[in-house]
């Protein structure tokens, strides 16, 4: 159950806070249970408030500047976010381009590889064993492993910092 509200509650709380009472308000409080509660509760809490008022306040300027510094830091991090994304996307794009090039001119790459290896027999073996699609898959595997290592090491270093 809650007691009925009284229109004078605010007046009573103000009177307690300012310690200024009118006779009429005093008389009202004597007859009003709600306002007697308000007086008791407000007096109790104002006493606690007055005790705090004696203590000096920390400087507002320090808070302000700390908030400014934090805001600048946050803005800097926000502005760097596209670069962070680019750092992740860049190697993947490079891999995709390399694979595309291999797919388009894989036979030529196999030919160059065969010429670089010593001996005619070895060159023939390379050309037989490494048709363009196989080479593409191999290079893709190597490049993706490289990307994984790159990203993993980057994350590990970032955590250490």
């Amino acid at each position: 159950m809650s007691r009925d509200a009284c229109a004078r509650e605010g007046d009573v709380a103000t009177a307690v806070g300012s310690a200024t009472w009118t006779d009429e308000l005093r008389a009202h409080v004597r007859d009003c249970a709600t306002c007697r509660e308000v007086e008791l509760v407000t007096s109790a809490m104002m006493a606690a408030m007055r005790e705090e008022a004696e203590e000096p306040l920390p400087d507002a300027g320090r808070l302000w500047w700390r908030a400014q510094l934090e805001a600048r830091g946050a803005a800097r991090r926000r502005s760097m976010r596209p670069l962070d994304v680019a750092e992740w996307v860049e190697p993947l794009v490079a891999v995709a381009v390399a694979l595309l090039l291999l797919q388009l001119s894989g036979d030529r790459v196999v030919g160059v590889l065969a010429r670089l290896l010593p001996g005619e027999a070895t060159s023939d073996v390379v050309q037989l064993a490494l048709p363009a699609p196989v080479l593409t898959a191999l290079v893709a595997g190597v490049l993706l492993t490289g990307v994984m290592l790159f990203v993993g090491l980057g994350a590990a270093f970032a955590r250490d910092r």
Partner: protein, 169 residues
């Protein structure tokens, strides 16, 4: 609300004024009503979060309510952290620590029997003289339910104060 109209936190001087008006009652609430030990840290973090939130666009009477809302969340976070650390340090809604001044011992003990939300409600209504709308914002409740909540919390505190006095030798 006594918060100055047009407080713009993009301006240091205006923030200083807002701080001067609100810091003392907020610190008193943290210490006496919320029963916090680390008042300086909590007050500082409350204002930092307040500044971070950039609530300049809120109506003036809601800024202080927002400040209390942040502080309440911080107090609750602190209690949760205390509970995680161990049972010996549990305070929470159960009991506030003893105040340094004997005059306020009864009050603080009685307040300790109320939930944080009830203590805040009474503090905002009778110390800060906040409107029901502002109280609703601070407590994240409907404005229409503030009157009933206030009445119940007040009766609970009156009962706790009376109980404390009866228990005195």
């Amino acid at each position: 609300m006594s918060v100055r109209a047009g407080v713009a936190h993009a301006d240091e001087a205006e923030f200083r004024r807002f701080y001067e008006e609100t810091a003392r009652p907020l610190r008193a609430w943290l210490r006496r009503a919320a029963g916090a030990d680390n008042v300086d840290d909590l007050a500082q973090e409350t204002y930092l979060r307040f500044l971070r939130a950039q609530v300049d666009d809120l109506p003036d009477d809601e800024r202080r309510a927002y400040l209390y809302r942040i502080a309440m969340n911080l107090v609750r976070d602190g209690w949760r952290a205390e509970r995680r650390r161990g049972p010996a340090t549990v305070l929470g809604d159960v009991e506030a620590p003893a105040p340094p001044n004997a005059e306020t011992i009864d009050v603080q003990r009685a307040m300790g029997r109320l939930r944080l939300r009830e203590r805040t409600l009474l503090w905002l209504a009778y110390v800060e003289r906040a409107s029901h709308r502002e109280i609703a914002t601070a407590l994240d409740v409907k404005e229409g339910s503030v009157r009933v909540m206030l009445s119940r919390a007040r009766q609970k505190l009156v009962g706790a104060l009376a109980q404390g006095r009866r228990g005195k030798p």
